[in-house]
């Protein structure tokens, strides 16, 4: 094969690979180029989506009875 033809094939292959890489980079947003400077005010960053915690089941209404004593002074037998 003539040398010029070989160079032509290599050039075409290289150009194809280059296009393939650019296309992949654009597709994945993985370009190494810095983002263009914006003249508009920067919008607030979008909050990272989080998975909401599972809802806590609301307890049913109840009547809670609180029995309470104080200052029994150690009396274990009826007094007073």
């Amino acid at each position: 094969m003539p040398r010029t033809k070989l160079l032509e094939i290599l050039f075409v292959v290289a150009a194809g690979l280059g296009l393939l890489f650019v296309g992949w980079a654009v597709f994945t947003g993985n370009t190494s180029a810095p983002p263009p400077a914006s003249v508009l005010p920067t919008a607030a960053p979008t909050p990272t989506p989080t998975i909401p915690p599972p809802p806590t089941p609301t307890p049913q209404p109840i009547t809670l009875t609180v029995l309470h004593t104080n200052d029994t002074w150690g009396y274990v037998r009826p007094c007073g």
Binding site: T63, L64, L67, G74
Partner: protein, 256 residues
Amino acid sequence: MARRATKVKEERAASADVLLLDAGNSIYGDEYLTNHTQGQVVIEAMNLIGYDAMALGAGDFRLGLDVLQKRIAEARFPILSANVLAAGTGRPFVTPYIIKKVGGYRIAIVGLTDIEEAETILGDDANALKLLDPLETARRTVVELRPQVDLVIVLSHLGTQLNRQLADTVPGIDVIVGGLVTEWTSEPWRSQVNGTLLVEADVPSPGHAGRQIGVLRLQLEGGRGITGYTWENMTLTPDYSDDPDMNALLERYQNQ
């Protein structure tokens, strides 16, 4: 104790959603059995009734720290105080609070102890403890607990005036069960600032203690918290029969 046990059994037979609490100054006493056993009979009786928690009252320090620690170890219920620390370690002297689940509701129960009376009673033993300001401790503890629970109850052996101050100045407390009570009230006192309820069962005097039991019924509705309440202060007259199990326990101690 035997009448109290009967009343508690009645309440527990009627509903599973019952808490039994004591606001402190209940282990030490000069009644013969209590004095003779250094409070052991009281702890065993409270175990038998099934108390859920008790505040550490300053008067309970009259047992001395060593004996008190033995009684605390024998109790099958927590004896609570958030503002009494061991001086050496800076760790709580007793459990500061518990969280219990009743009827699907998470309920924090925090203990507080009157530090001025404790210092007087403890004398030199006070050096073994670090006594913290109860209101500041309550504020810090409630901030920590409030997001975790549906209801905050403070078992507070601070006395009527300081308990009212606690209710007015520390937001986030639903109910204060008070001890060291100095005045009778026919209804719960309620803070106009935070809506906190203060209930107190007994104003004891020598020869007249341990006869009263407070009965607070709270209507709890999901995220709305307390939607209603009733309270009564009952005197355990001879109309209440003695619980036979309690009588048997006391007889056993009497015959030792």
